[in-house]
């Protein structure tokens, strides 16, 4: 069942919160081969569900009242293990709650568990997790994408109708595309980063996964809030995204990229993209061709800035105050061994890259230059949005790929993010939705919007999903 039907059934008393929760927990167990969860909280979830059923009238009016949800294991949950899929946090129990999970609890949802992910959100295939890879529900040997692979697999496999994720370079949109569901990366600053374990603070942004735009809108309504505890939180009037699905934004001018067939996108993905353009035309929208020849330089900039911020953010993991500690007789070895044992290979590599590009002598050659490329990306989008309402492009170059296929060639893996990274560098919102099926596997396309245009992104995706069925197909 999708989110809308679940909430409706609960509100109509056709099904109780406890039954819904038990059903999600049963599915999670039955599909444990997917490895989508790092932790499940059966007892706590059923207790909360019972509380909701006992107080039905209070919860039936809430946006997520009675609905089971899964949270990416990057969000700190008070008193419940939070690992970020790393050995260094294998046994970490936070003493505080993230704003995202707190907002979702307050909106009446029931957390059934924390989902698997790439270690510290560094990866595009969910193969870097200390807890093992996640399997794509569409094929036993396929990756679900990353880094929010567990959340995407959870929704795709219908374990829960909603899940949270984070997107630093495409970590919501790419797994959404590879798993055949809808995922939204909000404008930087719309959703609080408080209690979300930091990877690249100037790009990290939490967002919703659901089967469709309706579910994403309801979850974003709960997640988004101004938060004084996050110094980059945007202070804005609250928008009701679910209500905005009914708005009429009129006929839109949609930007499409010149020479998109020269970017290495597969034939199947391009075909689905062209088909979606036909749907958009039928809905009365028009296209404007845009020159974005700088698109591919986004990857270069991202793989300097993200490791730089990662090396700084991850310096807090020293084995002293929390997390894994190695047995060492002196403090120097304690730091060194704790971090070597605690971090996986990809994380260690990114820390080294980040340390290098921030070190004296290389700062201007790498970090400063990457920030200039970032400026170029933002200016490019600013220019686009003077003439178009949205930019439309495929989410990924290809469909879900075999495990171990790209992990041995990091540059090939990094290229996975080619089409998603520009929105992160510019801080713009973007939504990925299923727009086709080929070789029995889903395909995704994305809209990138101007700052704080989530209402428009959700609205247009919803309108497409009213006239298409790609989002309804379950593996």
């Amino acid at each position: 069942m999708n989110f809308k039907d679940i909430r409706e059934s609960f509100r109509n008393k056709e099904i109780s919160a406890k039954e819904l929760t038990q059903d999600s927990l049963d599915k999670a167990k039955k599909l444990s081969n997917l490895n989508a969860f790092i932790s499940t909280f059966d007892k706590d979830a059923l207790k909360k569900a019972q509380h909701i059923d006992n107080n039905f009238n209070d919860y039936k009016v809430l946006a997520l009242g009675g609905v089971p949800i899964a949270h990416k294991d990057i969000f700190c949950t008070k008193g419940r293990r939070t690992t970020c899929a790393s050995k260094i946090l294998e046994n970490f129990t936070p003493p505080y709650e993230s704003t995202v999970t707190s907002n979702c609890h307050q909106a009446g949802s029931i957390m059934i568990g924390k989902t698997n992910m790439d270690e510290f959100a560094m990866g595009s295939s969910n193969e870097t997790s200390f807890f093992g890879p996640v399997i794509n529900p569409w094929g036993d040997s396929l990756v679900p994408g990353g880094s929010s692979g567990g959340s995407a697999a959870c929704v795709a496999a219908d374990i829960t109708s909603l899940a949270t994720g984070t997107d630093t370079g495409g970590s919501i949109r790419q797994p959404a595309a590879l798993c055949g569901i809808t995922g939204l990366k909000p404008t930087y600053g719309l959703v609080s980063r408080w209690g979300m374990i930091a990877f690249c603070s100037s790009m990290d942004q939490a967002g919703p996964f659901a089967r469709d735009a309706f579910g994403c809108a309801a979850l974003l309504d709960a997640m988004a809030s101004y938060d004084a505890k996050d110094s980059t939180s945007a202070k804005r009037d609250k928008v009701k995204y679910e209500d905005a699905l009914r708005n009429d934004f009129g006929k839109l001018k949609i930007g499409v990229l010149k020479g998109i067939d020269q970017l290495g996108i597969s034939e199947e993905v391009l075909k689905a993209y062209d088909n979606s353009k036909i749907v958009l035309e039928k809905l009365g929208h028009t296209f404007v061709e845009l020159d974005f020849s700088e698109l591919s330089s986004g990857i270069c900039s991202y793989y300097v800035i993200a490791p730089a911020e990662c090396s700084s953010n991850l310096s807090r993991f020293d084995g002293v105050k929390f997390g894994h500690r190695s047995d060492s007789s002196n403090i120097s070895d304690l730091y060194l061994q704790t971090r070597s044992e605690g971090f996986g290979e990809e994380v260690r590599k990114r820390i080294l890259i980040g340390t290098y590009v921030l070190s004296a002598g290389f700062y201007d050659a790498y970090y400063r230059k990457a920030q200039k490329v970032r400026r170029m990306m933002k200016s490019k989008f600013d220019e686009f949005f003077k003439t178009v309402d949205l930019v439309f492009l495929p989410t990924t170059l290809d469909q879900a790929f075999e495990m171990n296929r790209k992990s041995s060639d990091p540059n090939r893996m990094y290229k996975e993010d080619l089409l998603t990274i520009p929105a992160n560098l510019a801080g713009l919102p973007a939504i990925s939705f299923p727009n086709g099926l080929a070789n029995k596997l889903p395909i995704g396309a994305q809209f990138v919007g101007n700052y704080f245009s989530e209402d428009l992104l959700l609205n247009i995706t919803h309108k497409i999903q009213e006239v298409s069925d790609w989002h309804k197909i379950i593996p």
Binding site: K321, Y335, I353, V373, N411
Partner: protein, 93 residues
Amino acid sequence: MDKIELKNLLFLARIGAKEEDYPKIIEKLKTTFGMIDQMNELDLDHLEPLNNPLELTNVSRTDSEHNRNNKKEFLASSPKSDENFFVVPRIVE
């Protein structure tokens, strides 16, 4: 990057590695920098660096008093602590 540079980098990052693994690590870093170095082909002189997409300035909270004693909760997360402190190996000889 040579072995001495890598050794310094590993020390700066507080990451340990066996010397026999150095060539493999150097190779991996070189591959990534090979991709990153494509930035050098761009003319970026006229551009200002961008730190933050919303170009936000620092936000400060109002000073407010609170009497929150959560020492125990935070010490509980530590791998080793006593009643009041995080315990680490001796630092001063």
